[in-house]
């Protein structure tokens, strides 16, 4: 138990250091880009003059970059949770971003929950059917599916299901102006809007898990204990699930923790295609409007969520595989 606790603390400290470095990067980017930080952070006709003066004072933008501005920036971020002022929304950046976070979490969460079991299952089957022509064709199809850009898959789905068949909404997370009589009609509306973006993201994730699970299982299938199990006369299904699946699951856990970062990227383009009001769509709008503080704020939240998700994945991994917490691998 003590070793587990120290593992948890080590993992948290590691993530915090990385977050701190990213925050420093976010401080540096507008200051290294051509132009002055004042241009990027406060100079915009939409910002009222009194807010502009207040922002310059709060972030010390008239003082030297180091150490004054940096200390001000860290103080504002960590103590007051202040990331600046959004030009387009005329509100603090953190408020704008956190309002959008729920939708991204719903989309990303359900994509993970669906993609992993489906991918693992197909991968196991492909490993079992290796060498057969159906296995070869399926594997090629999966590789081909991996080649399509996410946003393009989303656009084609929208074209088919929304433009031609008219059975899916054209975008958004809820029907504008809809009145819900009860919780179920609300949930139904949420799910109707979630379906296509969810399929889009999953179509990118499932192939990744299929390929990895297939390769991992192929490695396990070559092990002696599988031959022994066959020789003893255990059924294929039993061997597949209890022996091969269990042992191949560890590399999958590693991929999950790497993939969580990709989900954030996938969410940006998918949310843009479907006008889904998450943090990803927000970053697109911010780029469109040249709302620099908002771009940085949305990026910070995406990195923060990614690191939290990574930590959870790492802890789960440590619970499943005791060697990890003892630092043996």
């Amino acid at each position: 138990m003590a070793s587990f606790l120290s593992f948890v603390i080590k993992s948290l400290v590691h993530k915090f250091i990385i977050f701190f470095i990213v925050i420093t990067l976010i401080f540096l980017i507008p200051r290294l880009a051509p132009g002055t930080p004042i241009d990027y952070l406060v100079e915009n006709p939409r910002v009222p003059p009194e807010v502009r003066i207040e922002l310059i004072k709060k972030f010390g933008l008239d003082k030297p970059i180091f150490p004054d501005q940096y200390i001000n920036f860290l103080y504002n971020f960590f103590v007051r949770l202040d990331l600046g002022y959004s030009f387009t929304y005329q509100e603090p950046v953190l408020k704008v971003v956190s309002e959008r976070l729920v939708w991204t979490l719903i989309l990303m969460g359900s994509a993970i929950v669906i993609s992993i079991p489906v991918g693992i299952l197909i991968g196991l089957l492909l490993a079992w059917r290796r060498g057969s022509s159906t296995g070869y064709v399926l594997t090629s199809l999966i590789l081909l599916a991996r080649s399509f850009p996410v946003f393009w898959i989303g656009m084609v789905l929208l074209l088919i299901f929304s433009f031609y068949l008219k059975i899916a909404p054209s975008g958004g997370a809820l029907t504008p102006g809809a009145v819900y009589t009860n919780i179920f009609s609300y949930l139904e509306d949420v799910l109707r809007h979630l379906a296509l973006p969810l399929i889009t993201i999953s179509s990118v994730f499932i192939p990744r898990y299929v390929i990895l699970m297939r390769n991992a299982s192929l490695n396990v299938l070559g092990e002696d204990f599988v031959w022994v199990a066959k020789a003893v006369g255990l059924s294929s299904r039993h061997i597949l699930i209890s022996y091969v699946g269990k042992n191949a699951i560890l590399p999958i856990m590693t991929l999950i923790s790497i993939d969580i970062g990709f989900i954030a990227g996938g969410a940006v383009v998918t949310e843009t295609v479907f006008s889904y009001p998450g943090v990803g769509r927000l970053i697109y709008e911010a780029v469109l409007n040249r709302d620099y503080p908002l771009i940085l704020g949305a990026f910070t939240i995406i990195v923060g969520v990614t690191l939290i998700a990574l930590t959870i994945a790492e802890l789960l991994y440590a619970i499943i595989d005791p060697r990890v917490r003892r630092g043996e691998t």
Binding site: I283, I295, V303
Partner: protein, 287 residues
Amino acid sequence: MVRLKPRRLIDFLKRLAKKPPGAIGLTILLTLGIIAIFAPYISPYNPWERVGTPFEPPNPKHLLGTNDVGQDILSEIIWASRISLTIGFLSALISALVGTFLGVIAGYFRGLLDRLITSITDIMLLIPSLPLMIVLAAFLGRCIFIIIFVIVITSWPSVCRMIRAQTLSISSLQYIEAAKAIGAGSGRILLKYIIPQILPLTMAVSILGTGEAMIAEAALSFLGLGDPLAKSWGTIIYWAFVSGGFTYGAWWWFVPPGALIALSVFGFMNLGYALEEELNPKLKQQQ
């Protein structure tokens, strides 16, 4: 050392083409390469000129129809293959070279330098790459070189990590120890024994990485961060998305460029796997 004599290169390609992945990859990429090189002769119209009425569906005069200002989409796609393939390949090549350089240094010299390089790659690999590319591109401006730069920034770390591991395992081999023992200098060992073994891997990585880089370029262009003056497959889809081609149901505007992106990525992936298998004898045994 793999020397690029034409005869040997042809033999090598022949060997690659014997297996399905190599054959598929080579066919796709040679075809696309020829289209890109001969774009001025193949394309039916000038892609920057208005040669038809807006939103014409595919017809005998315009095989893939026209866009919102009446430009011929087939010609656009043919010309765009140049930008898309070049950005993809250049970014992957530069990432592979940077990653190889740092990976070899880290893996061979070890010590403080290794720890520094390893921590940087570890951190970079944990930052979500597309959002980081978006932020950098948004602040640095919109031109082809900046796109290549941001793709390189986010993709060299994974190459570096792999090359470092390879260098580590090669450096521990006995003949390297022996070379050191008889007094060979680091420069000689690196140039004569280690780099020649690593370079083929770098080649495979840059081919495999080109697909990923093309997807990254397409995503950046789709988000409106592409070079407004250059036509790539990604920017064509971007214009279709923002200028009403989408609400109009003009599938001929965005389906073909997306399919071509996928086809090239598929081609590079297949060729990359074939190369990896051919160059890595250990992998060959396993199969």
